[in-house]
Structures are given as C-alpha cells and as structure tokens.
Amino acid sequence: MSTPVSYLDNTGDDPAVRARLVVGDNDFHSVTEKVCGIVEQPKPPKFWWVAFAASSSLTLVLFACIGYLVTTGIGVWGLQVPVGWGYAIVNFVFWVGIGHAGTLISAILFLLRQRWRTSINRFAEAMTIFAVVCAGIFPGIHVGRIWFAYWLFPIPNQMSMWPNFRSPLLWDVFAVGTYATVSLLFWYMGMIPDLASIRDRATTKLRFYIYGVLSLGWRSSNRHWHRFEFAYLLLASLATPLVLSVHSVVSFDFAVSIMPGWHTTIFPPYFVAGAIFSGFAMVVTLIIPTRKFFGLEEIITARHLENMAKIMLATGMMVGLAYSTEFFVAWYSGNTYEAFTFLNRAFGPYAWAYWTMVTCNVLVPQIFWFRKLRNKTLVLWVASILINVGMWFERFVIVVSSLSRDYLPTSWGYYRPTAIDVLTFVGSFGLFFTLFLLFVRFLPMVGMAEVKGVMPQAHLDRPGHRGHGDYHGDIAGVEVV
C-alpha cells in the first residue's frame, strides 16, 4: 500500500492482504452503538428535519398532481397520438431500474460471497423497496380510467373476464408484483436480528413494543440463527432470478410490440444492465451524504464506494455496447424503419435527449478508470447523479423518440411534457426521499449482524486462515504488515 491518506482509506490493492471492510477502531459494540445510535437519538438531527420537510412537501405535490389527474383526465399530461406513453412510463421504468441494485447487492452478491456487500445491502434494499413503491404508482395512474386499474389483476369477477395473458403489460403486473413481494420479504427478514438488537436496547416502552413486534420474537438462539441463515439463503436464491427477470419483463413492454426502436431482442439484457447501472448510481448518490451525515464512514468505507464505482464502470460499458449494437443491427438488418428510428434518435428532434443520454451513461463512467477520480467522493457523487440523469433519459429516448416517429409520416408528432408531468415526476422523488428519510430514522440502515460477521473479531478462532477465505483485515489495533 502506498502512502495512506487517512485511516479511512482502505482502497489499496495489495494482493497479499485483504482490505479491511470496517476501518477504524471498531469492535462489535461500537458498530452496534453507531448504527443503533442513529435510531435511538431522541431527536433526529437538524439536517434530517430540513430534508424531511422538503421531501414531504414534494410528496404532497405528487399527491396533488395525482388528484388533479384523477379528477380531470390523462389530458393534463402532454400525451397524444402518436406518443401515448410519456413521463409516466419513463418514470416507471426508471424507478424499477433503480430498484435493481438492492436485490442485486443482497442476493446475487450474497450468493457470490462478496462480503463487502454487508455494509450497504440493507441500505440498498431499502432503496429498492422505495423505488419499487414509486415505480408502482405510475402504471396505476397512467391508465385512462384509474378506477378500473384493478382489472389488470387476474381477480375472479362477475364478468368472467380474465386479463389478456398475451399482453406484456400483464406480465409486468406479475413481474413487478413478485419482485416487490420478494424484495420486501428479503429486506424485512434480513432486518429481524437487528430489530431485535434495538428492542433489547430500548429505553422506552413504546420503542420496546414496536421493535418487539417487528422483531417477531427473535431471541438469537442457535436454532434461530440456523433457520435464519437457511431462509436467507433460500430467499437470496429466489430473488436472484427475479433481479434478471423483472427488468427483462419490463423490457418486453417494448420488445414485444411492433414499433421500430422497440421491437428488439437486445432489450432484456440491455435493460437489466441499465437497471443495475442506474441502481448502483442511486445507491452511491444516497449513500455518500448519508454516511457523512450519520458518521458511518468507518462502516461504509471508501472501498465500498470504489467497488460500486467499478460496477458502474462495467455496467456503463455494457449499456454503451448495447447502444452501439442497436445501431449496428438497425443498419445490418436492412429494416429501413428500424434504421430511420435510430438515425432519428441521434439526429432527429430528440437528438438533445439522445446525446444527453450518451454523455451521461457512456462518457461519464469512463472517469472511473482512474483510481484518483473514482476515489474522490465528490467526483463519484456528481458522476452518480449524472448517471441517474442519463438513465432517465435513456428511458425517455426509448419510449418517446420511438413513438414520436413510427411508420406513417403523417402521424409523426412531437411530445412535450406539461408542468403536471414534470411535477409528478419531481413529486415521486419526494415520496422516495420521504420514505428513505423515515427509514434512516427508524430502522437500522446497516445490517449490523452481517457486518459483524465480516469483521476480524468474528474469526479469532481461525488463525490459520489469516489472509485467506473469510478473513478480512485484522483485528482493530493490530497493524497490517
């Protein structure tokens, strides 16, 4: 390791040693203190109140927009013929995409034994749930007769009508529904031991009862742990294919249609890569200020951020590859409609959106090649926001630019969002942040039990494995060679 900047820097790549996943002078107790302390403060810090006031106001804006929409009609949005889907579907795909990182981190990285996931998985999973909540709103409110939206569910009814199982929108209902359910279960189940910790430390009756109920009678017995870990493994195995399937199915909304620019077989992998890309970007965007404000830099370390930057670099390149493959196929297929759609994306009326997307999604992540840049928290943070912007525009480009110029030139159009469109979108961020702020205030945002499992203290009984296997770093206070 070259000259360490501070003890917080654990980004070094010394093949002889495994970097520490928790830095500083931490033991099990201090981790518990740090994480539970946030929840147990009698009053949240000032910045929390400021953020909460802002985000809950935006949530009200969201609900006001929805109320106006329901009472007046879809016409309050900028939709038209040919562009029948606009902000609502863009936002839906955007939020579902965001919701990918959490389950990826907690399930896939779990199965792949990526121990560094432990510090961030709770956080990312929470983000997933809230993103899926935001995503779920949009398909519900974008239909013309919202009061009949439940017809999309296969509920036995007096009309003896099933939904149309050929429709990708119905597949969406199943895919997103399953994903939301499994993610929620996974998140909640993983949280049970930590909820029990808070219960055990409770100083007030109210807290004792609430967390007592939430922790479902967890007593940390051996049998509990055995069942817990087994169930966790099972859920992780269940959730893993869902990470891949949900965005694949969302992409079918487009791929199964016959619109040029939509009807492409590349969509499922392209959407999944994009979703992971955007999900990680959102985790980074959120986690950087959170770890700073709540003083969690020792648990959510620079190395975590760096790992996520590397994933963003990889998935960003995949997305870039997908963009170029689309162009190649549009030309190679000889389908003139397809060819024009892509030409039109890059040089037509929506070229501004296309180039915003390319810049943010393909060019911006290239800075992560440089260790210095990716380890600069501020640079990383700004880049992650730009990636979020780019990924939103990716969906905008796919949905709007393809629809706006389809087969018959006489029906070509140009979609312009209205103020209500924009406010609804901004309002959904309000809801997202509101839920998120409530989460960091009331629930343990780091999986304490799991973090403790990757601390050197957990492996004192296995000195022979020093430097290998599960063993990460050294016991606090013992210098690494």
């Binding site: 007046t72 009609g73 879809i74 016409g75 900028g78 939709l79 038209q80 013929v81 040919p82 029948g84 889907w85 974008h142 239909v143 013309g144 007769r145 919202i146 009949f148 939206a149 017809w151 999309l152 009508m161 099933w162 939904p163 149309n164 050929r166 429709s167 990708p168 929108l169 119905l170 209902v173 909304d253 199964v256 249609s257 016959i258 619109m259 003139t336 024009f340 030409l343 039109n344 040089f347 037509g348 009326p349 629809l403 110029r405 389809d406 087969y407 018959l408 030139p409 006489t410 029906s411 070509w412 159009g413």
Partner: protein, 1030 residues
C-alpha cells in the same frame, strides 16, 4: 289535441310523416283500399312468417291512416301512432340551399330528432353523396348559440319580443307602395320564394330588391352574357370527356354540381374499363382538382388568362383551329412573356384538345374575370365540348356585387327608410369599400332575419330568429334546374321562421305559413291531376324528375365577342405580380364557406384538405416567395391593400404559385357564437367591389412574430433526416404508377415488395359467415373531407378544439393523409413546387392485429366476422394499443369531451353508437351499428346479406365511391373483386398484420409519358421509392 307551438323549453317536439314505405306502389294501393287488413280471402295459405308480415304491414298502414297525413302542425305524441316503432330510424328527403343552389339530402330521423344527413340518390347534384358542409349543417340546427327570440334594439336599449309583436308592427312598416323599402336577400333558386317576391313587389312596386351572395359564380354568368348575349348556366359533363382543362377551376370540389362531377370524373378515370380522361389544371393555389391533375402548372390567378390565350394561340397556329374573326384580337397572347413550364403545359394541352375535338372541355373558375369565361366559352364552342348550357333562371338579375353596391349607395343617400334583410350577414361579408355597416346606421328601420344574433343583427333595429333549413318548408332548384323539395324534420327549436314566411308577412299575404306557400306555388305550376298524390310523391323523392331546364344551343354573338376579347387583352397586358407586389386571392373557405358556418365545430375542426389546418385560416405562400420575402412558416404577416391592413399567419404551401398568396374568407367573426368568435382572420376587410377575388399589388411584410397553426399533420418544415425519410416512404405507402405502365405491367404495384415469409405466432381466425373487408381506391379519392364529417356525425365523435388539436389529440376516426411529392434530391429548403397525394386512413381492421395482442384487459378483440372491435366499457385506457398501431388510427379520450355539451347538441347524437367516456380508446368500427342494422333483419328472414346492403358512413357519402365495403367470404362481392385487382395492395404488409382494408393504387395519365416504364413505381433501390421521376 291542440298543437304545441311554443316548445322552447324542452326543444323536444316530434314530427311525424309518411315513412318511406308509404310510397311504394303496393303500399299506396293498400292505403287507398282503406280496410286492407280485412282482405284475408285473397291471401295465400299463410305461414306463420307471412302472417306476421301481413300483420306488420296492416299495422303500418293503420298508422298512416290514423295520423291523418298531411297535417301541418307538428304534434308531440301523446299516444304513439300504431305502426311507428320508437327507436327505428326514419328517413326523409329534404334539401339544403347554399348560394342559391339546392342540394338534395336524405335525413335520418331518430324519434323525431334529425341526426344525420346523407345525399339523396335521386337528386342530380347529389347522387347519394353529400358535401362536408351540407352534412355538418345538421350540427348548426342544434347549435345552442342560435338566436332564440326576437330582439328590438332601440335607443341603445335591447328588448326581447315575440312574433306577435313584430306582426303587429309589420303592417305599418310595409304599408304603401314600398317607397323607401329595400329588401336584401341571399341568392335563392326557390320557386316559392320567387312567387312570394313577385307578390311582395306587386304589393310594393317601389320597393328595391337586392340579392347578395359573397361567394357566387357570377363571373361565369357574366362571361356567357358577353358572348351569347344572355346569361347562360354552364352544365359541365366530364364522364365523357377525354380532356378536362381547368383554368383556376375546381369542378371536383368548388362547384354546385361538384358531387356529380366528381362521380363522373371517377368513372372517367377507371383503368379497368380503359377510360382515361386526362386532367390539365392551371391555378394559383392547390385545388382538389389540381391535386388530381395529370398536368398542373401553378401560376398567379392573374396570369391564368395568359396560359389560356397561349393554348388558344397554339390551337390556331399548330392545330388549325379556326376562331371567329372577332376573336382573333386575342393574338397578342403570343407575345406575352411566358415561362418554359407554362409553354410545355400549353403545348401538351393544345395538342390534347385538338385531338379530342368534341370530347374535351375547358372550365374556368369563378374567380376569373368574365372576359376569361367568355373566351373559354368561345373555345368550347369552336372545339366542340362536353359542356352544355341551360338558360339562367333569372337573367335580369344584376350581379351580386353590383346589387350590394347599389343598395349601399341607396342607403348612403338616405333613400332607404326600411331595410329588410333576409338571411345573410352583409355587415360582415359585404365588400369593405361599401362600408355597409356604417350605412346601416343611416337606415331608420332595419330588420334582419338570421339564425344568429350576428354582426348584422347587432346593427339592425329588429333581429328575427330564422328557422333552420331542417325546420322549415321550402323548395329550390338544383344546378340543372331540377325542382328540389325541402321539408322540415323537426318543429323550429327556437321559434324561427323562414325567409319566405317573413317575406310573405311583409307582402301582407293572407297565407304566411311556409307549408301553405310551397303548396300554393306548386299547385299553380304543377299540372298533376292528383295533387295530393303528386305532393306526397315529391316529398318522398325530394326531387321532381324531369324538371331540369332544357339544354339550349347558344350562338356566339360576334358583335359582343370583340368586347370580350378586348377585356381579355387588357387582362393579358396587366402587370405581373411579383414577390414585392404579390396578388392576394380571396377564396371561399372549404369548410365554413363565406363565414356562415363559423360556429360549426365539425367544420372548424375539419382539417383543410391541403394544409391540414383546423380552427384558422392562413395566408398560403409559395416556398420560393416565402424565402424571397424572408417569411417563415407560421410567421404573422401584415397584408396591406388599398389602405386596409390585416395581420395573418402564413402557411408555406408547396405547389402554390409564386407571388400569389391565398387567403380564405369567412374567418375572424366577432358575433358568430362561442365556437366561431375570433377564430382566424377576417379577409373581407381586404375585399372591395373592384377586386372581390384577386387583389393585385398588395404588400406583404413579415412581423417577426409567429403563431401556432393547429394542423392535424406535420407540414413540410421538418428536419433534414425526417424529410428525407418521409420522401422515401411515401411511394411505398401510397403506390402510384402511370396508366401506361400499369397497362403494360399490371404487377407494377407489387414489384417492389420484398419481405421474408410471414409467419404468425397465433392460430388464424376462421370465418364461416361473413368477414368484412374494405377497399379504398386512391385513384378516385379526391380528398374532399366528406367522409370525415360523415363519420363524425354517424359515430358521435367529439369536437376537441384548437388547443387539443395543437396537442395532436383530434378525434376524427378517418383522416385524409396528405403527402407532398417533390423531385428527388431537393432539400427541404429548396422546395417550391410539389405534387400532392391523398390517402384516406382509418382503422384497417388487421386480421393479425397488433393492438389486440397488447391490451392487458382484452378490451380490443376480434369478432367472428373479422372486425377489430373496441369494447369501450372494458377499456381502462393504457393506450398500449395506440402505441402498437402502425397506422396510429386509434383515438383516446384524454378528457371528458362531452362534459360541456349543450342539451340541444346532444340531440344530434346517434343513439346506436356509444358516447365514449373519458379515459377510453376509440377508433373506426367499420360502422358496426350499420352492419348490425342489416344483419339482424337478414338473420330474421333467414337470408344472406346482399352485397352493398351494408354501407359504412364514409363509403355512403363518398362522391367518387372510392370506398367499397363488403363480405370477403363472398367471391362475387365488389370488395372481393377489388381485392383481385392488380392495383390492390395492403399497406405495411411486411409487418404481417394483414389489414382488412386494402388500397387500390393511384394512376396518373400524363400526356408526355414516354412509355410503360416512364412513371412506374420504381423498383429495387430503396432510395428511389416515392420519388417522382421528372
């Protein structure tokens, strides 16, 4: 029971009449037998079905005798007459008069509410079709803005009055010999009104009589007067014509007989029968005839005579035509400066005319000076043409412009003390230099009868509510003179009266009811022995066969000819318009006409055929002139002419003549009603008695401000890649070939189809009974918009307003896609001239429908007879179907568009068609209600549905019969046969959607086609598709 005369509150009064059955001979016989039902002995042994038939007929007849037809009063039913089934529509023949020409209609009435107007097959100007305007007139009937009461404006106050108040003072107003009395009316062909006029003038011999129509064919009339000595009415026939030459004329659209002419034209262009009339058009702005032309040259209106003179010159010089000596003076034409394009056009036309002596026809448009008409009449006479003449019904009538001028002068001099204005809106539409509105203040007593309390009414002492055409008795004459009846479909909703009734009141006639007046007049003129029978028959037919005027064989009057030729020569010597001093051509609007339909939402929202602009008029400017003047598309310009200045947005239209700009009249109304107020720009402010049609030497300046015109289709100002792509696609979507190429190689329309084998993921539907299909002939479609309004009326399609159209949310189910074709290689900024093609586009009912597969709630489904049905009450409005529709023919209810509809407007709704809720998708159903209306009785009778029995609204009203509908399972049906034709193709077939509506390729018939390959659909290289090969 006493008649209920005053029904303003509910507006619901029911009119009863003979139902259609009543006039079949068997039926009439039965009626006369008085007790037909008793005649059981004569019946063959009855089966149950026959018994029911006979019973049904007896009941129907019982109804007829019981209702004591005819009865003048319109009586609400306290008891339902026997034989009349509520919910079963009835049809009545009636007519609509526009500009003094009656057009026969057949109006569908549902429980006493007229809901839809169609053409009357028996009427010579309709032949079953109806113009967009005439169809939309029914909406005007229910217009909530129509005036509902008499108004008296005195001393700055306004009083609400009743008819009895007016009747009380009318005798006083119209006492004496009529000195100081003037009557201003619109043009009319009504014999009844002529009779009342004569009576009025007999009672008041000193009264002045003036007839004014802002839009008329007076120039044509005056032109015939110039050469024949007496005004004649030209009766063009184009079915037998080999060459049709139009000089600023639009016989297919802008002519009282346009529906008939369009039908004839379609017949003359049918490639399968080998007929191939060739159409030459020279004009300043695209007309629908110009769109269909084989040869078109765009020249300013004031240059049209130059081209005509050059044609004449070539005929004389190269084709040995002998003109009368007096006509030789035109020869200055040869010396005129003339462009290469014009020369080529003139050469081809002259050669063709010379080759078709006796079967060619030269038509001149109503905006050309009388001298041009006169000269064309000479050419037609000398060449021999398919044009015939009838006498003018009122030869002594001064022209409308003269009449209004005389009246204005009389008003200015103060000699008019009492002015009765019957209909019209002169304060708005009289030429601006007459200052009619100001002179109106000079008239102590002015009375205006009008549908609306409009611009004129507001400056008159009295406003009288007029009865709508569907509320009043009357008659009229077709363009060829055929007597046409008009009967009311409903009692006046707002207590209005017709012009004849008010005039009869002013004349002091004993009888003032329209019904009695019409009958009285007819009784005098008709020689029928059985008047009642005759009366019933003509009401049923709507027209009287054999009443057309006689064809006259006019003689050229050599003495007058010289005058005409002098007039022509002065036109030829006139200065040419330039971009700095362009001419501005004022035209009737194709939708709201002279402005009288400004408050009609259907017409306001009807896309103008070429520009696709709704809810506005715009100054049409050629691209080259726009570039020269540095005017942008959509920019507001200032037009100045003779001291008058108006500001109007510009629409840059390829194919417009350079230095010639066109602006439609009829907009910018201030007292039209909620719909029509302040829509567009009032072009009448530029109109003068000297230059009512073509204003020369105007100045046009850009203001730098811009305005969004609500078009239903993007116009050509577009980015380069989109422009190129659109050009590339058009030839694929709208397939065209020259007639020669097609005859040489009938596969020419399919040669360029390249796609892999089409395999479906789903099992095919199977059809045992019927499966419906449609064929749309692009060769005969002229883009007249009649189908759009027919569909709107039939299917309860809402009007959404300008803002929504700007947002691309128009709701019309059928649209006419318009494409410009330009020479290859031109960029969007180099365009000037262009050709135009139309393509009617509605749901094609794909067999393998992309919309059906993606709807999550199965709200759009295939029916057992092949329709792609939309189930409104299942639709939740995901709009996925619309996204996945390659033709984008689905329409979404973004708002509750019916929310603010007046109760009266709701009366127009077709009860057979669901009024769609907000949040629901809708689209063309192939008029499923019409299919069911035929299918159910056919099934009851256990008989197959005959071909042609089911006619969707669009096909029904199409003047050229370009739309064919029928059963594809029946190999003998017209639609199956048209599917067999080599011109038949499916759009976007490569998507494997298998549309049920096919198109028949468009053919051109240019004189200079070198051979079979010259204008075929290009094959192979994709770049060449859709480009014209020059």
């Amino acid at each position: 029971m006493p008649p209920m005369k005053n029904n303003n509150e509910t507006g619901l009064t029911y009119w009863q009449s003979l139902d259609e059955l009543a006039s079949t001979p068997e039926f009439q016989e039965a009626v006369q037998r008085e007790f037909p039902g008793d005649d059981w002995d004569r019946l063959p042994p009855a089966t149950r079905r026959q018994f029911l038939k006979v019973m049904g007929a007896s009941l129907a007849m019982a109804g007829l005798t019981a209702c004591r037809w005819p009865k003048e009063e319109i009586v609400p039913f306290a008891h339902r007459p026997e034989g009349r089934t509520p919910g079963v529509p009835e049809h009545f023949a009636t007519s609509m008069e526009l500009g003094g020409i009656a057009l026969g209609m057949l109006v569908t009435s549902f429980d006493g509410r007229p809901i839809k107007a169609e053409g009357n097959r028996l009427h010579p100007d309709s032949l079953g079709a109806l113009t967009a305007i005439a169809q939309a007139d029914i909406l005007q009937l229910y217009d909530p803005d129509r005036s509902r009461r008499l108004l008296l404006r005195e001393g700055g106050q306004q009083y609400v009055k009743g008819w009895s108040d007016f009747e009380a003072v009318a005798a006083e107003y119209f006492a004496g010999d009529g000195t100081g009395v003037a009557v201003l009316t619109g043009g009319s062909s009504s014999p009844t009104r002529a009779m009342v006029r004569d009576q009025f003038l007999k009672a008041h011999p000193e009264a002045g009589w003036y007839e004014y129509e802002p839009i008329s064919r007076d120039n044509e009339r005056e032109g015939t007067r110039l050469v024949f000595g007496t005004p004649l009415r030209a009766q063009p026939k184009v079915d037998a014509a080999g060459v049709i030459a139009c000089f600023d004329a639009d016989p297919l659209f802008d002519h009282p007989s346009s529906l008939r002419l369009a039908r004839e034209f379609a017949a003359a262009r049918h490639p399968e029968t080998g007929a191939g009339a060739r159409l030459f058009v020279t004009e300043s702005s695209f007309s629908l005839t110009g769109v269909r032309a084989d040869h078109r040259v765009a020249v300013p209106s004031s240059r049209v005579p130059v081209v005509l003179a050059r044609v004449a010159h070539l005929l004389v010089a190269e084709h040995h035509l002998e003109l009368p000596a007096a006509a030789a003076g035109y020869a200055g034409a040869a010396g005129q400066e003339i462009s290469e394009q014009e020369i080529d056009f003139a050469k081809l036309l002259a050669a063709d005319l010379a080759g078709h002596r006796g079967s060619g026809v030269i038509l001149v448009g109503p905006r050309q000076e009388p001298a041009v008409h006169a000269f064309a009449a000479v050419l037609n006479q000398v060449l021999g043409s398919t044009l015939e003449y009838t006498a003018d019904p009122d030869p002594d009538r001064p022209s409308h412009i003269e009449a209004i001028g005389e009246l204005a002068a009389a008003m200015a001099s103060g000699s008019v003390k009492t002015l009765l204005i019957l209909g019209g809106n002169p304060a708005y539409d009289a030429p601006a230099d007459l200052q009619f509105k100001d002179h109106l203040a000079n008239v102590p007593l002015s009375i205006h009868l009008s549908l609306y309390d409009d611009e004129t009414s507001q400056h008159c002492t009295w406003h009288l509510p007029q009865a709508h055409g569907l509320e009043a008795w009357g008659d009229g004459a077709a363009w060829d003179g055929t007597l046409t009846m008009r009967q009311p479909l409903i009692a006046p909703l707002y207590d209005g009266r017709s012009a004849s009734e008010v005039l009869a009141l002013a004349a002091g006639l004993r009888v003032t009811s329209g019904y009695e007046l019409v009958r009285e007049n007819l009784r005098e003129s008709a020689s029928a022995v059985d008047f009642e029978g005759f009366w019933r028959r003509i009401l049923h037919d709507g027209t009287v066969e054999g009443t057309a005027w006689d064809i006259v064989q006019p003689r050229l009057d050599p003495g007058r000819l010289a005058v005409a030729v002098d007039g022509l020569r002065s036109l030829l010597d006139a200065d040419l318009p330039s971009a700095d001093r362009p001419e501005v051509v004022l035209t009737a609007d194709s939708r709201i006409w002279d402005g009288r339909f400004a408050n009609n939402g259907w017409l306001q929202e009807l896309p103008e055929a070429l520009t696709k602009v709704t809810w506005d008029n715009a100054l049409l400017v050629s691209p080259a002139t726009a570039r020269e003047l540095r005017i942008d598309d959509g920019e507001i310009v200032e037009i100045e002419s003779e001291g008058a200045t108006i500001e109007t947005p510009v629409f840059v239209l390829p194919g417009q003549a350079r230095a010639s700009m066109t602006l439609a009249l009829g907009y910018g109304r201030m007292a039209a009603g909620q719909v029509g107020n302040e829509v567009g720009v009032d072009a009448y402010r530029l109109r003068t008695t000297k230059a009512p049609h073509v204003i020369s030497g105007a100045t046009v300046r850009g203001t730098g401000r811009s305005y969004s015109l609500a078009t239903t289709q993007d116009h050509f100002a577009i980015d380069t890649s989109g422009f190129k792509e659109r050009n590339r696609r058009v030839g694929e979507l709208v397939r065209e070939a020259s007639l020669d190429a097609y005859l040489a190689n009938p596969e020419v329309f399919h040669d360029h189809e390249h796609y892999p084998p089409l395999i479906s993921l789903w099992k095919d539907h199977e059809y045992e009974g019927e499966q419906w299909g449609m064929a749309i002939d692009l060769n005969t479609c002229i883009g007249c918009n009649a189908c759009v309004v027919a569909c709107q009326a039939e299917n309860n399609i809402p009007v959404v307003g300008r803002e929504q159209v700007l947002n691309q949310r128009e709701m019309q189910w059928i649209r006419l896609d318009r494409y410009f074709k330009t020479e290859p290689g031109l960029g969007s900024d180099e365009i000037d001239n262009a050709e135009v093609v139309f393509q009617p586009m509605t749901c094609v009912h794909c067999e393998n429908a992309p919309c059906e597969q993606v709807c999550p709630v199965a709200a759009t489904q295939h029916t057992t007879d092949g329709l792609n049905a939309m189930i409104y009450n299942r639709c939740v409005g995901t709009r996925y179907c619309s996204n996945n529709c390659p033709f984008k023919v689905r329409r979404f209810n973004f708002f509750n568009y019916h929310k603010d509809l007046a109760e009266t407007s709701k009366m127009q709704f077709n009860p057979e068609v669901t009024v769609r809720a907000r949040g629901v998708m809708e689209k063309c159903t192939f008029c499923v209600q019409r299919i069911e209306a035929v299918r159910l009785p056919a099934r009851n009778d256990n008989r197959p549905i005959a071909d042609g029995e089911i006619v969707p609204a669009c096909a029904q009203t199409c003047p050229t019969q370009a739309i064919t509908f029928g059963n594809l399972n029946d190999p003998k049906s017209l639609v199956s046969k048209s599917r067999e034709e080599k011109r038949s193709y499916a759009m976007l077939a490569e998507l494997n959607i298998r549309p049920r509506a096919h198109y028949l390729g468009r053919l051109s018939n240019r004189a200079d086609d070198a051979g079979p390959d010259a204008r075929g659909v290009p094959h192979g290289e994709a770049e060449s598709h859709g480009k014209e090969t020059a």
